[in-house]
């Protein structure tokens, strides 16, 4: 466990800055993908209430190349959901490198909880 040194020290300040930038830039990237998707929706005359296709990761790349609105929207939505998860991974690795075992373990625990959620949902859907 880290002591008071880590509380507000320069290492935490650097980590704050790194994670802050990560959050902002990934969010802007996600927004860009969503904007492209919505513009393509409008061009194709698709109503939001038409019912979108389910997520199929295997066809995402082909959909992007074919300029399908759903592909851009799904990629944007995945980026949105992945943003806080990537923040936890970056923070966890950073805490581990600094020897802050408690916070590294907490970061790992958060990821494990999310993985349990994914597995539980997949099992329920199967």
């Amino acid at each position: 466990m880290s002591g008071p040194r880590a509380v507000g020290g320069t290492d935490i300040v650097d980590l704050d800055r790194l994670i802050g930038r990560l959050l902002v830039w990934v969010t802007y990237a996600a927004v860009t993908l969503l904007v492209i998707g919505v513009l393509l929706m409008i061009l194709d005359g698709i109503s939001p209430l038409a019912g979108g296709p389910p997520l199929d990761p295997g066809t995402l790349v082909a959909g992007l190349i074919a300029l399908e609105p759903a592909a851009f929207l799904w990629l944007g939505l995945l980026a949105v959901i992945a943003t806080p998860v990537s923040r936890v991974i970056v923070a966890g690795v950073s805490f581990a490198r600094r020897g802050d075992r408690t916070l590294a373990a907490i970061s790992f625990g958060i990821i494990v909880v999310i993985i349990i959620g994914v597995v539980t949902a997949l099992v329920s859907e199967a």
Binding site: V7, G37, I110
Partner: protein, 303 residues
Amino acid sequence: MVVGLLMLGGGAAAGVFGSLLGLGGGILIVPLLTLGFGLPLREAVGVSLVCVIMTSSAAAGVYLERHVANLRLGMSLELFTAVGALVGGSIAFLLDERLLALLFAGLLIYVAISMARPRPAPASEIGDAASADPAAAVETARHAAADRAAAAATDDGLAGVASDLQASATGFAATLSGPGYLVHGFGRGIVGATGAGVVSALLGVGGGIIKVPLMHLGMGVPLKVATATSNLMIGITAAASAVIYLIRGEIDPYVAGPTAIGVFVGAMVGSRLAHRIDARYLRWLFIIVLAYTAVQMLVRALG
């Protein structure tokens, strides 16, 4: 196309309102999509979670860069909000939609009453102890907490209070402290954070309505830091349940896309308008909107 623009505009309105009043857009997005566009409640919750993550990520990024949010405290509590979200996200698929609507109506009424109550004057946020030496600041805060506890014990005749507070202000919680304040009551934080996660996953809201008072009143965190840290936590709380909604097919990209963009743009506009608008009148307008929406949700639940 008209529906898409309405969704974008509705999302933008939710984002502006949420930003001006310090609430996430989630509390407005779910009623907008269910009552306004006739979507099933669970689908609206899934879309709302995506919108909540997006606005919280952008805001949390700025808060972190400005060193307002407490990353260590936020991540420590996030473990429990994520557990709560996992439980809530699983329960949501077992409950009847009408019961969810009833719960949402209850949440709307609670928020409306909270907003109608007169607010105390904001306390000093981060005191002079926010000096260049964080360890000294923590020590100062620790002494201040002990002094307050001792004073409370003298005033109320509760001799145990001082020693309890002093005891709770040590150990792991103390290592989560920031410049000028000392974190205590981590056990309380665990319970509250877990509850916030369940509520967030069930109803598609960020859960800030629980987390901010929990950290500010229950853990000794200044209001400004509590708000910023709550914003940071909302992302992972909502993501933990959003993956469940996503895998179970409750997030429609054609609905989520326009709504999320609307909320994002609305939140940005709202943050720029915040200094120019008298929030008192806006608050009362919002309370009326919440009360009306609560009645509509009740009708949906009971009808």
